[in-house]
Amino acid sequence: MDQTTPTHIEHAHMLFPDGMQLECGFLLAPVRVAYRTYGTLSAARDNAIVVCHALTGDQYLAETHPLTGKPGWWGRMVGPGLPIDTDRFFVICMNVLGGCMGSTGPRDPRPDIAGEPWGTDFPPITIRDMVRAQKLVVDALGITRLFAVVGGSMGGMQVLEWAATFPDMVFAAMPIATSPFHSAQNIAFNEVSRQAIFADPDWHGGRYWEQGAVPARGLAVARMMAHITYLSEEALTRKFGRRVRRDPYNQAGSLSLFGEIFEVESYLRHQGSSFVRRFDANSYLTITRAMDYFDLGADHDGDPSRPFHGTRTRFCIVSFTSDWLFPTSQARLLARALNRAAANVSFVEIDSDKGHDAFLLDEPDFDRTVRGFLSGAAEHARIG
């Protein structure tokens, strides 16, 4: 497995020397937020959309990724004439706090010990911390009200946190394939991912940089397991079925137990190995933990509607029929919580067999929903 650390790339960013107080009480300073923008901010600064990325996404939303050379993760959704139309809207996408694509995270040097990265000592962060870091950038751009905040999966959690924490700043919110709290099942999946990383001999207690190593096997296994949860049985069957191929790395030939591999195995191995080239294990731990902590009702006796009482934000909740990681039942809990707050809510379940990842893939009904919701909201917001 390729164990080279990612080559250093200078990501466009803003630096906030005063940093920010995290929810855990720790003052993190300085704070750097890497971001990309698409489209043009209007003179009235009223056409900005923040797109929040998911667990392993980043700010390279709609352009070739500088590290992987692959197209942006939502290039089919964001661009001129596309549902999130950059001829019309100014789109901002920021790497989350704790990430490894230019925003402050565990791989950065810690200010108190010279020459040493944070590693596992990076303070625990929350989804709200991520959102507050994003707000530093939005404020610095002179934007007082976001036209919309859009995101799927963990990005959807950030959307909800934006609307709950800064209700007057968010005109429209589109939480996609997400939930008002991280479920026990999803925490369990994250825990398996983390244990896979801990079990890697190259983990070295989280100080793998000292050995010039990365826990590539553990991180790859974490990714493989997680990737299964992003798909669906139908999608796996359609893509791979039970097809087998000879394992090119197995010398013993097809007579041995693993001489032949199923195509689905080969696919997962590829997903795992390509992931470790672009992602840091400590970031993975930090961000999955932030997801686990996410619970809109936590400060409100378990009632996720309370943060939204009196909200004027227009919401559009989207779920997908075959998503078993963030199922429609959880989206419906969210819809009902927003109903209890008398919020303006649209709620659509898109028919798809592609599982949780459907929000990243070609789903014409979903595209129409995004385009229509944003156009309708723009009409209400009276923006071009």
Binding site: N339, R340, A342, V345, F347, T369, G372, G376, E379
Partner: protein, 201 residues
Amino acid sequence: MRLDQRLIADMIRPGTRVLDIGSGDGALLDYLFRTRGCDARGIEIDMREVTRSVAHGLPVMHGDADHDLAHYPDEAFDYVVLQRTLQAVERPREVLRQMLRIGRHAIVSFPNFGHWQLRLKLLTTGRMPMTAVWHTPWYQTPNIHPCTILDFLMLCREEGYVVEQWMAVDEDGERAPWRRSIRLANLFGEQALFLLRRRGH
């Protein structure tokens, strides 16, 4: 938009908050927003209609009258509209109670089972009547709680609802002329349209 939807829209004051249960293609929502400046939202059970409505920029959520009204706070709306659906819900009385809890007014339309053609067909053929309005056989119909205009009035009386306005309408939505006599309306009206409020409001 159907003519009876126009009659419904005429009952709604401009600039108010409206929930349309069973918003279908969203025609009423769109009309209320564009011509009345209403904050009009919809609930629709058919997901294709929901997707189509949201794709047209209308605030519609997937749900139904029986299960989703309980989640709204008291008096969240000025008007709650239920078009041609009361006869198909699981618990019509509970749905009406919820409508008048979450809304100051309820606007209800339903097909009238007291129409003379239905009465005559049942009397002469001895079989479940089938007409242009009631056009599905008994074993297939979603209309599990049909009622007559008189039945509905009795229920309103029992529940303490004030009938602010009522009218009988024919299938095409033209207002029928039986404005004064409930008995004539119950005999000749194909669809009924009621504007209700709770007593003391």
